[in-house]
């Protein structure tokens, strides 16, 4: 039997071009299915990690998902701001342990800029690690003197090659080439350690800095004829008047619904409080149809790939009749002929799936920065999960089933042909 398998491999090698193309098709299909599963899983894990520690996200009334997306993941844009006094009122509520204000809307070379307070660095953290620790430098001062100081997420620093002491300028809006706040450069004073969350791709400055760079702006554009130099901003009142959203941590999680109701009924202005976990669940609920369709389409692509395998093996059988008859004359039984075909199909499937895993790994390396920037999804290089292994095994199982057809045909053929195939 071992001899037969060795011959099967040698025979397959002789037809390596056609089988190779089939193998690549299987690999691409497997990679697609794996990638869909990986993105689905990592997106969920990542989003859950990004919201950990935050009990409520508060912002102007609107879409809950939208609020979550811009407050936590810094994607999308806020349509409205909320007043600073609302923040102060909420931050001093007895149930609130901490509240971090966020002011969004500027960017640096495509990376979102968040105006906040130094408290941010204490509370904005993924579950797995304590507060985002600094790999270099310190938090921005948050004082009038240190107004133009910035703290970079690890990916920002790494991708743009920034170090402590470098000077950067911000742009208005999320477009990389929006109107520049070039007249008021910032100094990099801190760089955060990687967290695997959107924090990595964020530039952090103080709320005062956000006010300062917009002093001579109105309605999203520089005021013509008015130019306040950086050194003079201290003469102005830089206390924030508006923020985009705030993140809230509670003293006791059991207060969460009570505080949510309180905020939703807040009299000062129309606000909304969102439980990030619930909002995420709603998001997944909405997306599950899309997810399932993607999985179904990928599964179909795998089936098409394996149908191609069956077709290739069947088409090859006709030109291999002679080969099979020779093996029969040498003492190979029809069962061994069957085994040769099935082994061939199985080897192509297993190699295809293996190549698919490699392709997906390469794809992750290439695409991870893009998915993190645009979707806030941190794709990780890691060995296949149990779920992915189950998918791989089911592909291999289907490949085995797909090989049984040509195997069975070869069995019948070798019996009917005897030693001399009739053409």
């Amino acid at each position: 039997m071992k001899a037969v398998l060795v011959l099967a491999l040698k025979s397959a090698w002789a037809r390596r071009l056609t089988l190779g193309i089939t193998l690549v098709a299987v690999a691409l299909a497997a990679a697609l299915l794996l990638a869909v599963e990986r993105v689905r899983h990592d997106a969920r894990a990542n989003f859950s990690q990004s919201i950990s520690g935050v009990d409520l996200v508060v912002g102007p009334r609107g879409g809950a998902t939208q609020l979550m997306m811009y407050a936590v993941f810094h994607t999308g844009t806020a349509t409205q701001n909320m007043r600073w006094d609302s923040f102060e009122a909420l931050a001093t509520h007895p149930a609130v342990a901490w509240a971090v204000p966020l002011s969004l809307g500027d960017s640096h070379r495509g990376f979102p800029v968040v105006g906040t307070t130094p408290d941010y660095f204490l509370h904005r953290r993924p579950a797995v690690s304590p507060a985002p620790t600094f790999s270099a430098g310190r938090p921005f001062a948050g004082t009038v003197d240190g107004v133009f100081e910035a703290v970079l997420g690890s990916a920002v620093a790494q991708e743009l090659g920034y170090r402590i002491g470098d000077r950067i300028t911000l742009s208005h809006g999320m477009e990389a080439l929006g109107p520049e706040h070039a007249d008021k450069p910032f100094t990099v004073v801190g760089i955060l350690a990687p967290t695997g969350t959107p924090v990595d791709r964020t530039v952090h400055v103080s709320l005062e800095a956000i006010t300062a760079i917009h002093l001579d702006w109105a309605g999203g554009a520089p005021l013509s004829g008015l130019n306040i130099p950086a050194e003079q901003v201290r003469k102005f009142d830089l206390a924030p008047k508006e923020i985009t959203a705030l993140l809230v941590g509670l003293k006791s999680r059991s207060d969460v619904f009570r505080l949510q109701r309180h905020i939703n009924a807040y009299r000062g202005e129309a606000l909304m409080a969102v439980l990030p976990g619930v909002a995420l669940d709603e998001l997944w609920q909405t997306l599950s149809t899309v997810e399932n369709s993607l999985i179904a389409i990928s599964a179909l692509v795998v089936l098409v790939g394996l149908a191609g395998l069956t077709a290739t093996l069947l088409a090859g059988l006709n030109e291999r009749r002679r080969e099979l008859a020779i093996l029969r004359s040498l003492g190979a039984g029809p069962g061994e002929v069957f085994l040769m075909l099935v082994a061939e199909g199985l080897v192509v499937t297993v190699l295809g799936v293996t190549l698919g895993v490699v392709l997906m790994a390469v794809g992750i390396v290439l695409l991870a920065p893009m998915t993190l920037t645009h979707f806030g999804i941190h794709l990780q290089m890691r060995p296949p999960s149990a779920n992915e292994f189950a998918l791989l095994l089911s592909i291999i199982g289907t490949g085995l089933a797909a090989s049984l057809v040509p195997g069975w045909r070869a069995w019948r053929m070798s019996l009917a042909d005897g030693l001399t195939p009739r053409n």
Binding site: A3, L327, G331, L419
Partner: protein, 230 residues
């Protein structure tokens, strides 16, 4: 002991009323080299399939080396074929993607008995190829790159390696030109004698019959009409 005995053999193709083979008695002695002449499509290939244990007769007995082939299980018939019979066909005998030498060695991978009888299989294969006049430079070439004549000599070496008791040859010279036909037969007869094997050489061409121990026509042994296609 006879190498091969057929008694009251009837073989009918499925869905055909008339038998294609109806052989009351046919026998080949051990080491005997027999030329069997029959027209193309006269049931020769069917006879070889029955002798090789690939096709089963509808009735009658097929006895090879004292073993009733027709009563063995299909697995045992495959085993028997691997151990005791060498085949040479008209053409396309070889696995095109294996070298000439590896093709010769194939029976030793399928049959432990023939591997044992071949001794140092590689040396034996090289010796056979030398005797059959195949230049050493060709031994490691893929079979597909050899000429038809060279391929047939490799096929003969493969049929003979490990000293099977019976060699069945089905028009092995039909793809060769006339001068090479006789040369091939001489080499085959010599090597068959050296191996001590019985040889059944089937052909439609009477001119090749000269050097065999015995000449038979299919019509002499087969009572069935030869109109049915083989």
């Amino acid at each position: 002991m006879s190498a091969l005995t057929l008694t009251d053999l009837i073989y009918r193709w499925p869905r055909q009323p008339a038998p294609c083979l109806d052989i009351p008695h046919f026998e080949i002695a051990a080491g005997e080299r027999v030329f069997l002449r029959g027209p193309s499509g006269g049931g020769k290939s069917t006879l070889l399939a029955v002798l090789g244990g690939v096709a089963l007769p509808n009735s009658g007995t097929v006895t090879l080396l004292g073993e009733r082939l027709d009563t063995l299980s299909s697995r045992a018939r495959d085993r028997f074929r691997a151990d005791h019979i060498g085949f040479i066909f008209q053409q396309f005998n070889l696995l095109p993607w294996l070298s000439a030498l590896d093709n010769v060695l194939l029976p030793c991978t399928f049959s432990a008995r023939r591997a044992a009888r071949a001794g140092d299989a590689r040396a034996t294969a090289e010796q056979l190829l030398t005797h059959l006049d195949l230049a050493p430079g060709l031994w490691h070439q893929p079979a597909a790159e050899l000429s038809v004549g060279q391929q047939q000599r490799v096929a003969a070496a493969r049929a003979l390696i490990g000293k099977p008791e019976i060699v069945l040859a089905d028009e092995p010279t039909s793809a060769l030109d006339a001068p090479r036909q006789q040369r091939f037969i001489d080499l085959l007869l010599a090597e068959t004698r050296a191996a001590g094997a019985a040889l059944l050489f089937v052909s439609h061409d009477d001119r090749l019959a000269a050097h065999f121990d015995r000449r038979v026509t299919l019509a002499e042994i087969n009572r069935a009409s030869t109109e049915t296609a083989a």
